[in-house]
């Protein structure tokens, strides 16, 4: 069971990142729900989604205390940091978040996702970098399946597959 909140600016691929997790879990035969914040959202505004992954059917898809928080920008970290369960995980996009997480009861992983995405020759794929880090550290998803999922999602745009796989690998290597 993992209850994940993915949050950041609109345009950072926050909702897609949540979908990558949801698709991967579904392809592994798990129960999933993906609930976006919706509303007057726009590029540059805030966006988040709640993803539940479980072996048994998801009752409430609303997450008040996430096991995992993926914070892609500072306002998202500020908004959700105190809600993460004790013993949970926070993945911080340190490219945009310069502060350290002020909690010692959670596992914090800092990822310079924007720089690593550039390193993988896919500057738009900071979310894929983080996806790799999530798969490596959160223990809910299988790496091979996650790679296959990326292939399936980009099946209609195959030219984007290699650079997205590369971004994933860079994040997974952390």
């Amino acid at each position: 069971m993992d209850a994940i909140i993915v949050a950041g600016f609109g345009g950072q691929g926050v909702l897609s990142l949540g979908q990558f997790i949801a698709y991967s879990a579904m392809y592994e035969g798990m129960e999933v729900s993906w609930l976006p914040s919706y509303g007057p959202e726009m590029r540059g505004g805030t966006a988040n989604c709640s993803v539940c992954v479980d072996k048994s059917p998801i009752a409430s898809p609303i997450i008040s205390a996430p096991d995992t928080l993926i914070a892609m920008n500072m306002p998202s970290l500020t908004k959700f940091v105190d809600k993460v369960k004790s013993g949970g995980t926070i993945i911080v996009n340190s490219s945009l978040i310069t502060v350290k997480v002020d909690r010692d009861d959670v596992n914090v992983i800092y990822v310079d996702a924007n720089a690593l995405a550039i390193e993988a020759h896919n500057p738009k794929a900071a979310n894929l970098v983080i996806f790799g880090t999530y798969v490596k550290h959160c223990g809910t998803l299988n790496k091979e399946n996650a790679l296959e999922t990326i292939g399936k999602i980009f099946a209609k745009k195959p030219k984007f597959i290699p650079s997205n796989l590369a971004a994933f690998e860079v994040g997974y290597a952390l």
């Binding site: 979908q19 129960e31 993906w34 009752a59 409430s60 609303i62």
Partner: protein, 354 residues
């Protein structure tokens, strides 16, 4: 069986409608249900159906009236303010006994309100939002899969009873993505058109009329009784609900749609802290599972009911009517587009005493 797909509630409803035989969609955009017309706009041409983005909600529902009158499996979808605009047409459709499906992905009101999830259209849906004595068969699905399953059979029910069917969701249900198994495409290509349909192609038989105008009081009274006889059959045959841990419960929580899932988690939390809570989830909102409520109310272990809704308290009135004074019925709700958490529900139950 098809591989599972990850779909939004809105997309899943649209695909399930097509697979259930829908070949005519008329609608006008409004958040949070825009994925339904969007999906229909490219999917309908693929299956040889009709998609029209009408100039208004009023025209959309009247296009459904016309297409349905000709025997087509026609539907429309909208959200609260748009559904209000459709009410006149819905009343005419009910009066003319035209089968159709209407989807309402409810947003908060009143007025233009907000675009976040709500359940404040319960009254409008089950009590008759338009004029006159009529009802619809109203479903309140709680998951994307249940949206699919209900939508897939909705047209069969609509034609069986010759009446409008409403699927009452909320913004969350429209926007959430879940894994679903889609049913196979139904084939109606060799099914003759309904004998009452005004398709203008058959001569010699009795004249077929689609109309809701009955000028003679006796005729109209008979018409009303005919409709209500149908509603009695619905109550007998179509009423659906789901129960969770009610047998030994002190407190019965009742909720429908996505809120019932939040409530189900609350029941688990309460059970873990020693409070014997249970959940009764109506799946059909009309017909309402009155008898089941009454039977639970008569059980000595049941101390009270709590209706949990995203409204100021609407379904709670039907719960009170069903419980009929046998046990206290309380209400807990959020509105305006705010959604309660499972913790909120559990806290309410704990604080208000058992």
């Amino acid at each position: 069986m098809e591989e599972k797909k990850l779909l939004k509630g809105n997309e899943a409803i649209a695909e399930a409608a097509i697979r259930g035989g829908c070949r005519a969609f008329f609608g006008y955009p409004i958040t949070p249900q825009n994925e339904i017309p969007e999906y229909m706009s490219f999917r309908m041409p693929e299956v040889g159906g009709v998609f029209i983005q009408s100039e208004s909600e009023v025209s959309a529902i009247n296009m459904v009236y016309g297409a349905g009158g000709a025997g087509a499996r026609a539907m429309t979808s909208s959200s609260s303010p748009g559904i209000s605009l459709k009410q006149e047409g819905i009343s005419y459709i009910a009066g003319a006994e035209i089968p159709c499906v209407i989807v309402n992905m409810v947003r908060s009101g009143p007025g233009l309100g907000g675009i976040q999830p709500a359940q404040c259209d319960y009254f409008q849906s089950v009590k008759g939002g338009g004029h006159g004595d009529y009802k619809m068969l109203v479903y309140g699905p709680n998951s994307v899969q249940e949206c699919v399953d209900i939508m897939y059979t909705a047209f069969d029910k609509a034609f069986e009873y010759r009446m409008p069917i409403m699927i009452l969701g909320d913004g969350m249900l429209g926007q959430i993505m879940e894994a679903v198994t889609l049913p196979p495409m139904k084939d109606f290509s060799n099914v003759p058109n309904a004998e009452w349909a005004t398709d203008g192609t058959r001569y010699g038989a009795d004249r077929r009329v689609v109309n809701s105008l009955y000028i003679q009081p006796d005729d109209l009274e008979a018409m009303n009784h005919k409709l209500f006889a149908k509603y009695d059959v619905l109550a007998e045959k179509e009423c659906r609900y789901e129960e969770y841990l009610c047998d030994d419960a002190d407190v019965i929580i009742t909720a429908y749609g996505t809120v019932a899932r939040i409530a189900k988690s609350a029941v688990d939390m309460l059970r873990a802290s020693g409070v014997k809570a249970g959940l009764l989830r109506p799946i059909t909102l009309f017909p309402f599972p009155c008898d089941r409520f009454a039977r639970l109310a008569a059980m000595p272990n049941v101390k009270k009911f709590v209706s949990v809704e995203l409204s100021m308290g609407q379904m709670v009135e039907d719960v009170r009517l069903s419980v009929n004074g046998m046990k206290p019925v309380e209400f807990y709700g959020r509105c305006g587009g705010n959604v309660m958490t499972s913790e909120d529900i559990a806290e309410y139950i704990t604080k208000e005493g058992k």
